[in-house]
């Protein structure tokens, strides 16, 4: 009797586990095995499968600063087939894993990439690495996973279509920017357990991840790097916590070391007062309107707002001025 029940137990467990794995493989919520028009809307989990199984030749990548960029808009301007592979709350660890994987697929020829200082200061690791490789053995972490199961059910019942993917929209107003700034400076600043705001650390993190991918893909991938337009309030926030010079040194480091590479074009929207001081285009100190999304890609297509060793110092000086003016006007309000 005990023998029969023991064997039965083992068999039932094996059959149930096989059924669970079979269901996930069939539903394939993260498109690890085949392309689908149905998405679940989780960038870190979904992008590796999409990168492997979809057809594209360009990508817009970076942090939440480019999350709302419409690939169709880029396609209409550049004539590419673009996918948005950005990460909310991106860290350099994300790019250290994602960039080599995406480039290795051999599909991407152009990458539009935003350089967000936060990404290189953050020490957090959030990637489910088993999805970002070709090792079939570790897919077991995909099959037996509560989040996979939830997403499999979501994909079957309530999938997101590509045009609605990562398309978050919020109202932009000057009041929201001031409110966001007030809260930020009233807080404790950058938590040193999560962020290393030193310019050397940020530069090293950039070099080891994005910088390495740029150099390794020379001759294969064209990179359009750009400094995204934060609002003036963001500079004031960084300055308030004593890191403005770190931020500016990171910018200079990147421009000095990468702008002359043959596969790189570089743009700067951070030193244009007419952009960053129009606070009605923002919904917090950093994130801007769709109008600015259109503007930035149009400018890149036209070759406007270029940055090089020639103008990095003057642009950095302008950012200092913008920051000081914002702080002054904030206190006068």
């Amino acid at each position: 009797m005990a023998r029969k029940i023991a064997i039965q137990t083992l068999v039932i467990i094996i059959v149930l586990l096989a059924a669970i794995a079979g269901f996930i493989i069939w539903a394939d919520p993260y498109q690890q095995y085949r392309a689908s028009d149905d998405f679940v809307g989780n960038q870190r989990l979904e992008i590796p499968g999409v990168a492997r199984n979809h057809d594209y030749n360009a990508a817009i990548m970076g942090s939440s600063m480019v999350m709302n960029h419409s690939p169709e808009q880029i396609d209409s301007l550049f004539g590419w087939r673009t996918y948005n592979f950005s990460f909310m709350g991106a860290t350099h660890d994300d790019f250290g894993i994602a960039l080599p994987f995406i480039i290795k697929q051999g599909k991407v020829k152009h990458i539009i990439f935003d350089i967000d200082y936060f990404t290189y200061a953050s020490k957090e690791k959030r990637m489910a690495e088993y999805l970002w490789d070709d090792n079939i053995l570790n897919d077991v972490s995909y099959w037996f996973n509560y989040t996979s199961l939830e997403h499999a059910i979501q994909k079957l019942r309530n999938p997101i279509k590509r045009k609605n993917l990562y398309n978050f929209h919020d109202e932009e107003t000057e009041a929201k920017v001031y409110d966001s700034y007030s809260k930020a400076i009233g807080g404790e600043g950058f938590d040193s357990r999560i962020y290393d705001m030193g310019h050397n650390a940020m530069a090293m993190n950039f070099d080891n991840t994005v910088g390495h991918a740029i150099k390794a893909s020379s001759g294969k991938v064209e990179w359009l790097l750009f400094f995204p337009p934060y609002s003036a309030a963001e500079y004031a926030r960084i300055e308030h916590f004593g890191h403005l010079e770190d931020f500016l040194k990171l910018r200079k480091h990147i421009v000095d070391n990468y702008c002359t590479l043959p596969n790189v074009r570089m743009f700067d929207f951070q030193a244009d007062k007419s952009i960053v001081c129009d606070l009605n285009q923002y919904n917090d100190t950093r994130h801007h309107s769709h109008a600015y999304n259109r503007m930035t890609v149009s400018e890149m297509e036209n070759g406007g707002h270029g940055i090089s060793k020639r103008n990095i110092d003057s642009n950095n000086a302008e950012i200092r001025r913008i920051s000081s003016e914002f702080i002054r006007s904030y206190h006068q309000r």
């Binding site: 005990a2 029940i5 039932i12 586990l17 669970i20 570790n138 972490s141 037996f144 509560y146 199961l149």
Partner: protein, 488 residues
């Protein structure tokens, strides 16, 4: 390698199981034992290869001392071998675990600035060192008895030393290698030598699967889920910002996280042991139902308590050397227990507080005083919960911040600081319900072990619980979180 990892569940365990019984079926018994040793060494090396030589050296030296003791000789020789054995084991543990702690304290006390050595602590060293210490001491006692018998002209008792493979399995047997239970030679060696244990035993397999499943549920579903509140709370406490409700949520979460984490690990260890027909000792017996501190230590980490009683408290004189000395012995035992858990003042203070708790309890009982069980249980749990805060905190400032907030009734609500952005795959409400269920289970539910050993439990019940436990908890295995007791 963790028990709650796919590589262990789907690869390591099945391969070891098939290889072990396959070789036994072919009557290659020594090979089967060797496979178990190799698998255990691989299991250990998987964490960090550099740990392996330390453990192997420790095994070889201790076995050598055991052999020397077994050969007999004069009492002086035996005492010398015993001293070498004790010094070697304490020295090994001391070097790897306490060197930096010692340097830190010397620097603090004498304003010196000796550089820390940053020595990597080999996993499980506290456990395998204690087990081998027990082996050396037991070998000495056996050899001393033989010498005594010979001088009294009685025939010598022939207690031969175990074979090297059996000894290796006693130390390295992978279910208990990293975090116990702390086993003794007398309970393990006969099991490795027993020929009946070489064959598949369906009942053990069913029991093993059942209790492994229950351990997995305790670890991945309960402990790891409620850990989010404890982790967030202690992080917030670094800045002092906890409300009273948050402080209680933090302390209770940790109290039950630690219990379900360690108890879950031990259940899994017992289950895996049973798959190989090896019965590991019980390590937890519903400890939060203890009615006093003495009772608590008879139920919590029972094998550590057994070791300290047998190899420290009794040799110190136990309770046979007068009242004052008995209390001092208790304090010494709990000081060592605290220090064993970690090289830090928080652990030492925690240990001493428990020692004081046991002393008070002993005096109370000696004075003929009694409390109703429910009141004793409440008071004991209340203090144990507070002492876990000291045990968990990185320093006494953080511990004090949590404890102070637990009794500061100016704010009773949970703020967003504690409840937002928790790194959890389950919503807060579910985690909270799991905490509630954990409390109920710890206080009134039957223990997994008692269900297993209860003659009245049907095989079908165990089967159903094993199947449910494994298929539910498998969804949470991918959030791999190390067992808390691996740190000690």
């Amino acid at each position: 390698m963790l028990f709650n990892s796919f590589v262990f569940i789907f690869l390591f365990l099945p391969i070891t199981f098939i290889a072990y019984y396959g070789l036994n079926r072919l009557k290659l018994y020594q090979w089967a034992k060797s496979v178990l040793v190799i698998a255990s060494l691989a299991f250990y090396a998987y964490f960090n290869l550099s740990y392996l030589p330390i453990m192997v050296a420790s095994i070889v030296v201790n076995y050598g001392i055991g052999m020397a003791l077994n050969r007999g000789g004069s009492l002086l020789k035996l005492k010398t071998m015993l001293t070498i054995g004790i010094l070697f084991n304490i020295g090994l543990l001391g070097y790897f675990k306490y060197t930096d702690f010692l340097i830190e304290n010397i620097n603090a006390a004498f304003s010196t600035s000796y550089a820390l050595k940053n020595i990597l602590l080999p996993l499980g060293i506290s456990f395998f060192t204690f087990q081998q210490l027990a082996f050396v001491i037991d070998s000495y006692k056996a050899a001393k008895t033989t010498v005594g018998n010979m001088s009294a002209n009685t025939p010598p008792q022939s207690k031969s030393i175990p074979g090297f493979l059996d000894y290796c399995n006693f130390v390295t047997f992978f279910p208990q290698l990293i975090a116990g239970p702390i086993v003794l030679p007398e309970e393990m060696l006969p099991q490795f030598e027993n020929e009946r244990n070489r064959h598949l035993n369906s009942r053990n397999i069913l029991d093993g699967l059942y209790i492994f499943a229950m351990g997995l549920v305790k670890k991945v579903l309960i402990a790891d889920s409620i850990a989010v509140f404890a982790n967030a709370g202690f992080m917030l406490a670094e800045k002092g910002g906890l409300t009273m409700a948050e402080a209680w949520l933090t302390s209770l979460s940790y109290t039950f996280q630690l219990y379900f984490d360690f108890c879950g690990y031990c259940d899994m260890a017992i289950g895996i042991g049973l798959l190989f027909n090896i019965k590991l000792p019980l390590n937890f017996d519903v400890p939060y139902r203890a009615t006093n501190f003495q009772d608590f230590w008879r139920r919590w980490h029972m094998t550590l308590n057994r070791f300290l009683t047998q190899y420290l408290y009794i040799p110190l004189g136990g309770s046979k050397t007068g009242k004052a000395r008995t209390y001092l012995n208790i304090l010494i035992v709990f000081f060592i227990s605290g220090l064993w858990h970690g090289a830090g003042w928080t652990f030492i203070i925690w240990g001493i507080c428990h020692g004081i708790g046991v002393m008070i309890c002993r005096a109370w009982h000696k004075g003929g005083c009694r409390l109703p069980d429910w009141l004793g249980m409440f008071i004991t749990f209340f203090f144990i919960n507070i002492l876990w805060v000291i045990f968990r905190a990185d320093n006494m400032t953080i511990a004090w911040n949590v404890i102070r907030s637990m009794f500061d009734n100016t704010s009773l609500r949970l703020t967003e600081n504690l409840t937002s952005n928790l790194p959890s795959i389950l919503p807060n409400t579910i985690n909270m319900l799991i905490l509630f269920a954990a409390i109920l289970l710890a206080f009134i539910g039957p223990s997994a072990y008692s269900i297993m050993t209860n003659e009245k439990t049907s095989l079908r019940t165990k089967q159903a619980l094993a199947i449910m436990g494994i298929t539910v908890s498998i969804f949470f295995v991918s959030r791999v979180v190390t067992f808390l007791y691996f740190n000690f």
